[in-house]
């Protein structure tokens, strides 16, 4: 066991994947000497060489499209998108190529590409540096989407993503890069599945589902609710596509109440899919409609206002009150 920050845990996972398989190649902007703007790839170019860690020209479609070609050639490219808001120039290559080539070629060609995306807000950045674009990808058939919430998962799941023969979007909650945690660097990533959700905190009154950056916030909310006599079960999805609905369903069958929280805009966000699917799966166990506590339907705001947009402990607790029918901010509203 070692104590690593979230960021260093990803670095360690990348290093191990590169050690294990010479076909693993990193590509991205500023990932070489600089080690990336978040230093996630720090030291890797020095240790593995410039032919394994490629500083690419400044063009995301180009990075993604050449990664596709490298995958055709048998490589396992790991692409870094510098910030969430810069993934869109690569959208066409992701949606029409990365996601579809396996289907297009009837299984003949594999696309084992990992796309690392530092995502989410709360770091005081200007426009395009704090977005949560995951729902675009969870709606895209052919992709897998995961997001770790702690150093151990970060370490394990990056290796699982790289060894997956399917393309994987790996969303890194950038505001948690400095969080420290215990990491078992000897653990075998193949021993677990990146698709399983995890019950973070057990509880019996309300199921609170989240992922990535809001997992710590949700855990804090559970503690606060506990102080208030409400037992909240927190689930960290880990995999966003597919979602491990069995785990969520089992919890909701127990609690009868579901709150979902994410930073992304509400309309069409992942919360909608979770609410709809869980309602389908356990309608008769629900005591209240699933409640969504999310970002608003706005472009990510400038930093002085970002904490109004981002769900926080209080807003989550308000959602918990709502699902429990306790007094809350919308009490008395004709709905």
């Amino acid at each position: 066991m070692s104590t690593l920050t979230f960021g260093r845990a990803i670095n360690a996972g990348l290093r191990r994947a590169m050690d294990n398989d010479p076909k693993v190649i990193l590509m991205g902007e500023d990932i070489g000497k600089l080690g990336g703007v978040f230093r996630i790839t720090d030291g890797l170019q020095k240790d593995f060489g410039a032919h394994r860690v490629l500083d690419t020209p400044l063009a995301e479609a180009g990075i993604m499209g050449t990664a596709v070609g490298m995958a055709y050639r048998g490589y396992r490219p790991v692409v870094e998108i510098q910030f969430d808001g810069f993934i869109y120039p690569a959208f066409d290559q992701i949606v029409c190529q990365v996601a579809k080539i396996h289907y297009r070629t009837q299984g003949a060609v594999k696309m084992p590409i990992t796309i690392r995306v530092p995502f989410g807000g709360g770091i005081g950045s200007p426009e395009h540096h704090s977005e949560s674009p995951e729902a675009y990808f969870t709606h895209t058939s052919g992709l897998r989407v995961i997001s770790p919430s702690n150093p151990q998962d970060a370490y394990t799941m990056i290796q699982q993503a790289i060894s997956s023969d399917d393309p994987v979007l790996y969303f890194e909650p950038k505001r948690r890069y400095h969080v420290k945690g215990e990491v078992d660097e000897g653990s075998d990533p193949a021993a677990s599945s990146m698709e399983k959700a995890r019950v973070v905190t057990e509880g019996s009154d309300v199921t609170l589902v989240t992922y990535g950056p809001l997992v710590p916030t949700a855990r804090d909310a559970a503690v606060a609710a506990g102080d208030d006599g409400v037992s909240v079960e927190v689930i960290d999805l880990r995999s966003l596509a597919p979602i491990d609905f069995e785990t969520v369903e089992a919890s909701v069958r127990k609690t009868g109440r579901l709150v979902i929280t994410h930073e992304a805009a509400q309309s069409g966000g992942l919360g909608a899919e979770i609410a709809a699917s869980i309602t389908e799966r356990c309608f008769y166990h629900l005591e209240h409609a699933p409640v969504r506590v999310t970002g608003f339907d706005i472009p990510y705001p400038y930093s002085k206002l970002e904490f109004h947009h981002l769900p926080d402990l209080d807003r989550i607790l308000d959602g918990v009150d709502r699902v429990l029918g306790r007094p809350n901010s919308l009490s008395g509203l004709e709905r």
Binding site: A71, Q97, T105
Partner: protein
């Protein structure tokens, strides 16, 4: 000054006059081209006859497929009529371990790669998303997103470099494609990594209804040097010249010289696809002008001048073309129909809980028909 579409530009990308590499004129005369003659010194009469046969066969594949479309056996077909020399000349220059990333119109290149004829038609019959296993013939299946494949070729070439191999990636695309960001980014990456990739642009003068002058105001071959990539403009209707310039580019790539851009100036003599009606936008005279430069005719004339175009030869070629056409047609008509649950196959290479559930539900749905009524044969 006014905002308008500019359709043709003097000295622009539609012109064929100057700086075009040509080894056989439109009249079939072999003209010397010192920088390229040595590259095709091995192409003797028999080899020329072989190239001619190839062109006849692919033209026949094209017309047979067009006929199959007219007869309702194919949903769509993108003819390559007029572009045989560009595709055969370049396609025949490749080694089997080179890798091709093309668009949808390169059926003649696929033929050179040794594709199973039926495989060419699968996608156009609606029986598959694509026709063949790319690794079986080292050619990716047709790319529909204009220009996307140029990046794939560049990335593949980067992989070749990393493997220390001397294979080459070759990407085919059209004049219209040169406007796409992807194609330009591919040149940036290819130059930056000095990747062994050939950009083979068939300037067939049209992108559906848009003339090439709308995409560019100077010859397309001029584009590449600004990215640090050497380029050449070749008569795309001259099979020998296309072979020569492709061999030159391959040699450069194999020896660590990096990428080359080839503009093959040719002409789309047919419609964009069988769904297109070029009379809405194209002058009949233009077609006539280009008919005079037909790639097959000029090789006929040249072979004739060498005494190699006798009846025995033409009969053999015709027999080959007939046989290929028959095989193509039989392959088309005999294609097996897909099963409904094939829609769920190969989306992922490992089980996916969302999709597995949907498949399970859909299969239950289908079998509910089998239960409740007589089977409709769809399950």
């Amino acid at each position: 000054m006014a905002l308008k579409n500019i359709e043709s530009v003097p000295g622009g990308p539609g012109e064929t006059g100057s700086g075009l590499i040509q080894l056989i004129t439109a009249d079939g005369v072999r003209v010397p081209e010192p920088a390229y003659d040595a590259l095709v010194a091995d192409i003797d009469g028999a080899a020329l006859q072989g190239l001619y046969e190839d062109m006849v066969v692919v033209r026949r594949i094209d017309s047979e497929a067009t006929a199959l479309q007219r007869q309702g056996e194919l949903a769509l077909w993108p003819p390559l009529l007029g572009q045989e020399a560009a595709q055969i000349g370049s396609g025949r220059a490749l080694r089997s371990d080179d890798f091709v990333f093309s668009s949808y119109r390169e059926n003649a290149v696929a033929y050179c790669r040794g594709v199973d004829l039926t495989d060419i038609l699968r996608v156009w019959r609606g029986n598959a998303s694509s026709g063949w296993d790319p690794y079986a013939i080292n050619m990716a299946t047709p790319q529909v997103i204009i220009g996307a494949q140029t990046l794939h070729a560049t990335g593949y070439a980067m992989g070749i470099l990393n493997d220390g191999d001397d294979a080459v990636a070759v990407t085919y695309f059209g004049d219209g494609a040169t406007s796409q960001g992807d194609v330009n980014e591919a040149m940036v990456f290819a130059a930056s990594f000095q990747a062994p990739v050939i950009f083979f642009c068939q300037n067939n003068h049209w992108a559906i209804s848009e003339p090439v002058g709308l995409q560019a105001h100077v010859p397309i071959a001029n584009r590449a040097p600004g990215f640090g990539i050497p380029s050449v403009r070749v008569d795309g209707n001259d099979v020998l010249a296309c072979l020569a310039v492709t061999r030159q580019a391959l040699a450069r790539a194999r020896s660590g010289g990096g990428p080359t851009f080839i503009e093959a100036v040719t002409y789309r003599m047919g419609p964009h696809t069988t769904a297109d009606d070029p009379t809405r936008y194209r002058d009949a005279n233009e077609l006539e002008d280009w008919a005079a430069k037909d790639p097959l005719k000029r090789l006929e004339a040249h072979l004739g001048s060498l005494g190699l175009f006798d009846e025995a030869f033409t009969a053999a070629v015709k027999a080959k073309a007939d046989a290929v056409a028959a095989e193509l047609r039989a392959g088309c008509l005999g294609m097996a129909e897909p099963a409904p649950s094939d829609v769920f196959k190969h989306v992922y290479s490992t089980p996916n809980s969302w999709l597995d559930r949907q498949q399970d539900h859909y299969e239950r749905y289908l079998s509910s028909f089998a239960d409740s009524a007589s089977s409709d044969g769809s399950s």
